[in-house]
Symmetry: D2
Subunit: 203 residues, 4 copies
Amino acid sequence: MDSLTQLTELLKKLPGIGPRQSRRLAFWFVRQDVAFIQSFSKTLLEARSTITVCPKCKRLHPKNSAREQCAICSSEARDATTVMLVEKDVDLENIERTGTYTGRYFVLGGTTSPLDAHPEKKVRIESFLALLANTNEPIREIIIALSATTEGEDTYTYIEEKIKPFIESRGIVITKLGRGLSTGTELEYVDKDTMVHALKRRS
Amino acid sequence: MDSLTQLTELLKKLPGIGPRQSRRLAFWFVRQDVAFIQSFSKTLLEARSTITVCPKCKRLHPKNSAREQCAICSSEARDATTVMLVEKDVDLENIERTGTYTGRYFVLGGTTSPLDAHPEKKVRIESFLALLANTNEPIREIIIALSATTEGEDTYTYIEEKIKPFIESRGIVITKLGRGLSTGTELEYVDKDTMVHALKRRS
Amino acid sequence: MDSLTQLTELLKKLPGIGPRQSRRLAFWFVRQDVAFIQSFSKTLLEARSTITVCPKCKRLHPKNSAREQCAICSSEARDATTVMLVEKDVDLENIERTGTYTGRYFVLGGTTSPLDAHPEKKVRIESFLALLANTNEPIREIIIALSATTEGEDTYTYIEEKIKPFIESRGIVITKLGRGLSTGTELEYVDKDTMVHALKRRS
Amino acid sequence: MDSLTQLTELLKKLPGIGPRQSRRLAFWFVRQDVAFIQSFSKTLLEARSTITVCPKCKRLHPKNSAREQCAICSSEARDATTVMLVEKDVDLENIERTGTYTGRYFVLGGTTSPLDAHPEKKVRIESFLALLANTNEPIREIIIALSATTEGEDTYTYIEEKIKPFIESRGIVITKLGRGLSTGTELEYVDKDTMVHALKRRS
């Protein structure tokens, strides 16, 4: 296998890159200056070594010599009574972009389904439970913010069940994101499930 | 213009039928038996003469010698304290299909925008206001159930403003369908507007 | 079943109309004036009674008291040495629109596959063979003009085999439409089959 | 700008990678082991240093100490009387995959349009003309194999004009890929341009 094919195979492993695009990317890379390739590799390695996982919320953040936790976890301006569980870093960024959520986060890292023999390997539930057991923060609400898909629903059920024993006597509530008509939904085409939610949550 | 072209032009007027499909339909009709064409025309005319507009809610319903109003308007089993305003008959059917709404309806017949010089010609607001003024039913809630689109929002604003003076002293509330994540929405791709709703309406 | 549902069911039979659109069309028809419904029925019936099948080429054409055959079949300006076999009326119209074909046509009425027990019921091959046997026109070329799909290819094979015995001693050739890159085809995404044709037919 | 944003910006430059996917890829890379990042960088650099441009046909190929030219240019089994001009490496690979072309290639590297002030910077026409002037190979045919798009047609016109003076007295012909129905084309939907080609090139 020549080095171009090796590169193609490697590029196929990137999320969202199919066989055809990986080949096109391989040719593209090889046509660039050596200086670009070196700079690309340097940027990759630099990002890898200066970006780290926040020990508390598990999201990626730039290393900081002054503090170990990420900017959100260490900010006094963020509401410590609310923690939102999200699947991945881009979901967290999408929520931050709304500018309306002021609490903390926890990144689960994946979703699970009832068929998984080891769901705890798919979602960082154990880290979260440890955090919950040891925190002295005044948590009042845990928002499980997952996609409105089968994967999201299954993961919600799993997470909720795991968390419940830890919150019972502590006055913490578990909430989930509101269901209803999303922007652009036409009433003529809306599915039954969404319609039922939209009716129940009218206001 | 030959009769086939006349038929093609007429078929173009049907909602959702483009020029290419109208031509294909014209050829298709002409290739059918005369008996089919006659039966098709008969069914059309029969539907037109036996289906009528309910004088109260403006929806289409089969004529009934025993009562003038549609089955929903005349049903004692339906909750007379709630009336839902929808754009069109298919929206109403889509909501009925959920099996969870037990109130009454009113079909507006269209949407409007701030640019319309005569919005009252696009939506049957005047009929609804007359209904509201003259009813002796114990209406407590008016649900404006429109699509989560610009047209829907504009129409909501118009309708709400028109209705307000009529309900002020009567303890009637105006509600709208709940906004949030619709089935299938992935958090990574959700728009800001929907995310804000989903956060605010978490539960 | 009420008359609206009957109309909906009937509209579902139209080519390219799904269940949702048939319901929307049914409501739309019933909301029209009686005058429109009557005019629609009249136009349908008129098209059905004034448009007829050309006895020679089987295409639909306006009845004409002066001649039985369609305008193309009876035109002296059309090249009688070439006859093109097409699947349906809209295909014929699409080819006429190019303005470059000057021969005659024959409308097969459908496609067939090797699984059909009675392919002669799907395509009007017998009428065409009868035409071929009895004509005194100087036919030199039969163009089988079908879609570049599996159905088209299968039908081509069937038709060609049926026609061959009739043309052997008469110096008639059978041709098919040229294969190659269609407008918009990008070389990076072209399928192998098309590429092989494009290479072979380069010029 | 933190290193993650730098990586995101860099990833946006990759062909076919949008802003959203570049962010997702950046997070993905940073979540990988350092070992993976190092191996990825190594593979990139290795491909860049072992894959080179063939001095003759300009395509990418693995460096080879025994010969400078690529495997196709140096193969005696390939027909030296035919050379095919393609836009890019993936087009060449797509054509090789058909297994039916036995000649040589030349990779133009891009397309041009009448609006380009310096078309010779977009396509390697000067290298090709130099090759043509100096070769002692018995070239009989130059196939300009470009996409059936406006860009492809414009580039064809430009290339053909540039080549003509060099071939006039040498008995070399310029050809282009055959146009016609590509696999899957339905006659009902075919554009006029393709139909005209399909008719003219019937066989």
